[in-house]
């Protein structure tokens, strides 16, 4: 049995091309009709891939034709963007995809869920048989191992999640943290929502327009505070998210030190996402105050991404080991229908249960 992968991704095709070949619900059935014994379609915003197993070679053009939404005279031109991996390279590619190494944001974990969903869908329709079952089970196991044994998923890579991540690095559990949102802009709202999703329950919103403050407070489950009361709130809060349109800094070391008197052992985390900035940068020099503006949040996100990239070699080593072991276990039994050995079971493979709904 021949294992192959045909597809296009953000590496080889732009979004317009990916849209054109996004496939549809019955693609796997069409593929079987085209000569594949087993087929699975993995579609995400960054990739469209078909994993298949066949006795005879199924051409890339044939598969591209199965995937295309609308046939026109440009189809052949677009088909140049397709890549094709067979046997060991197909196994390696899937392991890399499932582990997030091939993703646009290296190490992102969403792809694993999408691969699992695609596999479940193909299994339920009967399009995925024993070959793809073993391949995907092993891929999920490899992805888990890569996550556990490397730092490929460490750190946040978007501004909102960096802010929440940093808050957790300072305070641990966020359930007891008091948060003040100063200025009810869109980014503030997103950050506030992210904090609420991580357990924050005491959230206060203050804005020059009290209507907007009340609206945002209602949306995120917080309470509105009058704009002239925010300085007094600073004595109580642990996290301040500020994004007002003030032309001059609202917080300086002088006024903040007065607000923070008698709270020397409680840290204050300030997220300043306003441009121009609401907080004087020298506030970061104050004891137990951690100030992050939009540039520093962006810089942390980039550092996380660089950290993830450093982990690629370690992840590739794990994948190479598994690709060799998987290739060996398949070739030993010559076909995929043989039940997985005890060793293979330990590496995530289970017999295919066709009776499952």
């Amino acid at each position: 049995m021949n294992l192959f992968c045909v597809g296009l991704s953000h590496h080889t095709a732009n979004v317009e091309t990916r849209e054109r070949f996004a496939g549809h619900a019955e693609t796997d059935c069409i593929l079987r009709a085209a000569g594949c014994a087993e087929a699975l379609l993995l579609t995400t915003c960054n990739r469209v891939e078909v994993y298949g197993a066949s006795e005879e070679r199924v051409s890339t053009d044939e598969i591209a034709r199965c995937l295309v939404r609308k046939v026109d005279n440009k189809t052949e031109e677009y088909a140049l963007a397709f890549y094709r991996y067979e046997d060991t390279r197909c196994v390696q590619h899937l392991f890399r995809v499932a582990s997030g190494l091939d993703s646009m944001v290296v190490g992102e974990s969403e792809i694993l869920g999408q691969a699992k969903k695609a596999y479940e869908s193909a299994r339920a329709s009967g399009a995925a048989g024993p070959c793809l079952h073993r391949l995907f089970q092993r891929a999920f196991h490899v992805a888990k191992q890569v996550r556990t044994h490397t730092d490929i998923t460490r750190g946040s890579v978007s501004v909102g999640s960096v802010a929440v991540d940093l808050a957790q690095r300072i305070f641990g559990q966020l359930g007891n943290c008091k948060v003040l949102v100063l200025g009810a802009g869109e980014t503030s709202e997103r950050t506030a929502r992210a904090l609420v999703s991580r357990g924050v329950t005491d959230l206060r919103v203050s804005n020059r327009s009290s209507d907007r403050a009340e609206e945002l407070a209602r949306l995120v489950g917080g309470q509105a505070v009058r704009f002239d009361e925010w300085p007094s709130q600073c004595r109580e809060i642990d996290i301040l998210i500020t994004s007002t349109s003030s032309e001059t800094p609202l917080l300086t070391p002088e006024n903040l030190s007065a607000m923070l008197r008698n709270r020397v052992d409680r840290p204050l985390f300030i997220i300043d996402i306003a441009v121009p900035r609401d907080v004087d940068p020298s506030v970061n020099e104050m004891e137990a105050v951690y100030l992050y503006d939009i540039d520093s949040l962006q810089s942390v996100a980039e550092q996380s991404l660089a950290l993830r990239r450093q982990q690629i070699a370690a992840a590739e080593a794990i994948i190479t080991e598994h690709v060799a072991a998987f290739g060996k276990s398949i070739s030993h039994r010559l076909d995929c229908n043989a039940p997985p050995s005890t060793e293979d079971r330990a590496l995530g493979e289970t017999p295919l249960r066709t009776s499952e709904s």
Partner: protein
Amino acid sequence: MDRQFLIVSTICFFAAVVRTIVALRAGIFRPGQFNFLAIGLGFIFQTAFLSIRGHALGRCPLTNLFEVFIFVAWSVALIYMVVGPAYRLSLMGAFTAPLVVLLQGFALIAPIDIRHPVRLPANPWLEFHASISLVAYGAFALACIAGVMYLVQERQLKTHQLRSVFYHLPPLTDLFAAITRLLWWGFALYTLGLVSGFFVGQPLPYVQMVCASAVWLLYAAILQGRHLRRLAPKHVAALCIIGFTAALTLLWGITFTAQMPSPP
């Protein structure tokens, strides 16, 4: 025979140090089970050493500077075994192992294992006084290690330069809570050790009394500053490091002077 147990114990702790360095170089800084197992095994061999030495002496093995250093190293490992997993500070092992290697390595290399020519008589109060004071040193050592971790984490947060280690260190507030707990435990044990010193039935040397009181006052001042909120967490963490370094130096002084021949 007993020294062989100590050498094996030091190798175990050294293995934990090597593992940490390798992980750091690879950019993967995670505690894992290896460090905990290596330190656990090292602790067992330390205990075996102290047990054999204790049986040979017929008393708690605290008769010279060598044994004092090993006892401090054992106390550090003991408190790590109790505190580390409990406060989610398993990474503390990565910081604990180097300190133990230093203490034991120095004790093994330096010519300080001087046996007393005569068998010292057992004195339960004196042994209790010395051992409980050294266990307190273990707590102070762990507070010092937690202080180092706090300063590393705090520095990264202030400078916005987050390295791999950042994601594996506990949150600042958890670290500070651990420092406070360790300081209180250490202080309580040290006070107990100090008070028990009055019941040993023999006058303690003046220098030892002054040094022991100085260490007690130092930690009392740190805790008071913390309690009255006069000291910022960063300063408490820094004082834990300074305090333990000073306490260790004084301990050396105390034991060294105790071993000096008395003037005629």
